[in-house]
Symmetry: C2
Subunit: 281 residues, 2 copies
C-alpha cells in the first residue's frame, strides 16, 4: 500500500494507471476509519483494479462553531485498517496542499443543498462539493463510493457530477449499524455511555416511522411529530431536524405516495448524529 | 474534421485519444470565428496531436440585459474556417445538452472576479468558470488556449485550475488587432461605420497611457483620468470602466512600480468592447 501526500504525485500516478487501462475506485473519507468506511472500501475492491482512499478532514465543510478541532484522528490505525481491507493507495494531503494561500474557488449545488443538513449547517455542502471536485480531479477515479448515512451528501455529489459532466460514477453503500442498531459514525466516539444508550432512539424512531407508514399513515406531519416526540423523551437528545422528503429531489413531502426518505439529525449531548431510512409504501 | 454534438460522444472520443497517448488541445469559443480565434487555434495546432474547438454561446455568462440573443452566429462559416485552420473536432452542443432540466451546479471564483468586468457584469464570471469546468470535463484536454483580450477571463480560469486541481494547462495568445489597431472581436460586427471609427480610441488611449507611464507618470489616477477623457471625446462612446491593476492579482494599483495591466470596457453605441495592455516600466 502506497501513501501519497502531494497532489502532483497522486495525479501522475492516476494518469499512469489510466493510461494502462486500470479502473480506479475512490473512497473519500475524513479518516478514523470504521466498519462503515470498510464496507465502502470492500465495494470499491470488488469493482476496481486500484482502490484509493483519501483521508482529509476538510475544514471548508465545517462551520465556525462545529467540531473541526475535536474531529477524531488516528492515521496509524487508519493505515492498518486500510491495508487489511485491500486499499492500494491512501491519498493523505495536508491542509496547505489542498487549500494553498489565495485559495478562491468553490463549487456550489443549489436547491438540494438548502434542505435537511443544509439548513442547520450553512456552507457545509459547498465545502463538500468543493473538496470532492478537487479529489476527483486529483485521483481521477472511474467511480467513487459514498455511504448512504450521508444520504443528502451522496445526492448532492451525484447532482454535481451530472451538472459538471464529470465522467465517472457514484456508487452508494448501505448504512452499517452496530448490533444494537446505532448507525456507525466516527462521531460516536464522543458519546458517553448514557448518551450512547439514548442515541439508539434515532434508529428506533425511524423504524417506528416505517411501521406507521406501512400501517397506512400517509401524512408526513403526523410521522414527523411522532418521531420528534420519541427522540425528545430521551434525556440527552435535542432534535436538529426530522424531515420526510422525496428521495430524488429532497423536496419536502406532505403526503407519502410511493416512497419517501425520512431523515433526521439529532444532538446527543454535544454530538450531532444523523440517520435516515428510505420507506416504500 | 469531426463535428460532435453530445457530451457522451465527446467524452468517449477524448478518453480513447488519451488512452492512445494523444495530446488534446482545446480552444473554447462562442463561434463566429475571427482572426483572434484562428490565432489561438494555430497555437493549439503547434502543441497538440488533436485540436478541439468548442462552439457554444453560453447563456449563463450573459446578464439579463445583455446581448445573448443578438450575439452573432454562423456555424457553416465557422466549420469552414476551423477546417482550414487545422481543427480536428468541433464540439458543438445544444443548450439542452449543456444545461439540462434541473441544472443546479455552479463554479465560483471569488475576489478576482469582483473587479473590472466582474463589477459591470455580475454573474458573468460564474457563467464562464462553470461552462469552462464543464468543457474541460467533457473534452479532457491537456491544455486550453484563451485570448489575452479577455485578460481577466484567462486569469480567472487559471485560478480555477489551480484551486480545483484540474490537471491541465492554460496557454494564452496575444491580442490580434485589425490593421488600424482595433482589437478583433465578434462584437465588432455590430458597429456602424462611425462607431467603428470611434472604437479606434480604445487602442489609441491604451497606447497613450503606456507612453505616459514610460515618460515617468506613476499615478494610476492620472492615467485613468487621461484615458477616460480621450475616450469620452468621441461621440458614440461611453466608458464602462478604465482600471490600472496588478496583472497577477487584478487588485487596483495606486502607483505603478514595475508592471501594470491597463484594462478598459467601453460602450460604442450599444456595443460593449474591451481591450487592455500590459505595461512594463
Amino acid at each position: 500500500m502506497k501513501i501519497i501526500t502531494t497532489v502532483k504525485e497522486m495525479q501522475t500516478e492516476a494518469e499512469k494507471l489510466r493510461r494502462r487501462g486500470k479502473i480506479i475506485g475512490l473512497v473519500p473519507t475524513m479518516g478514523y476509519l470504521h466498519e462503515g468506511h470498510l464496507s465502502l472500501i470492500r465495494i470499491a475492491r470488488k469493482k476496481a483494479d486500484v482502490v484509493v482512499i483519501s483521508i482529509f478532514v476538510n475544514p471548508t465543510q465545517f462551520g465556525p462553531n462545529e467540531d473541526l478541532d475535536k474531529y477524531p484522528r488516528d492515521i496509524k490505525r487508519d493505515e492498518k485498517l486500510a491495508s487489511e481491507t485491500g486499499v492500494d493507495i491512501i491519498f493523505y494531503p495536508s491542509n496547505e496542499e489542498m487549500y494553498p494561500e489565495r485559495y478562491l474557488t468553490y463549487v456550489t449545488v443549489e436547491k438540494i443543498t438548502e434542505t435537511l443538513c443544509g439548513t442547520s449547517r450553512p456552507g457545509h455542502f459547498r465545502g463538500v462539493t468543493t473538496i470532492c471536485a478537487k479529489l476527483f480531479n486529483i485521483v481521477k477515479p472511474h467511480f467513487a463510493v459514498f455511504g448512504e448515512k450521508d444520504y443528502q451528501q451522496a445526492a448532492v455529489i451525484k447532482q454535481m457530477l451530472r451538472d459538471l459532466n464529470l465522467d465517472m460514477k457514484i456508487i452508494t453503500g448501505t448504512i452499517v449499524r452496530e448490533a444494537d442498531g446505532l448507525a456507525i459514525s466516527s462521531r460516536n466516539a464522543h458519546l458517553s455511555p448514557e448518551e450512547r444508550q439514548d442515541a439508539l432512539v434515532l434508529n428506533r424512531s425511524l423504524k417506528f416511522a416505517e411501521e406507521m407508514i406501512q400501517n397506512g399513515e400517509k401524512r408526513a406531519e403526523a410521522i414527523i411529530k411522532t418521531v420528534k416526540k420519541m427522540i425528545e423523551e430521551k434525556k440527552s437528545t435535542r432534535v436538529d431536524y426530522v424531515s420526510v422528503v422525496d428521495p430524488d429531489t429532497l423536496a419536502s413531502l406532505e403526503k407519502i405516495e410511493d416512497k419517501a426518505l425520512i431523515a433526521l439529525a439529532v444532538f446527543v449531548g454535544d454530538t450531532r448524529l444523523i440517520d435516515n431510512r428510505i420507506v416504500k409504501v
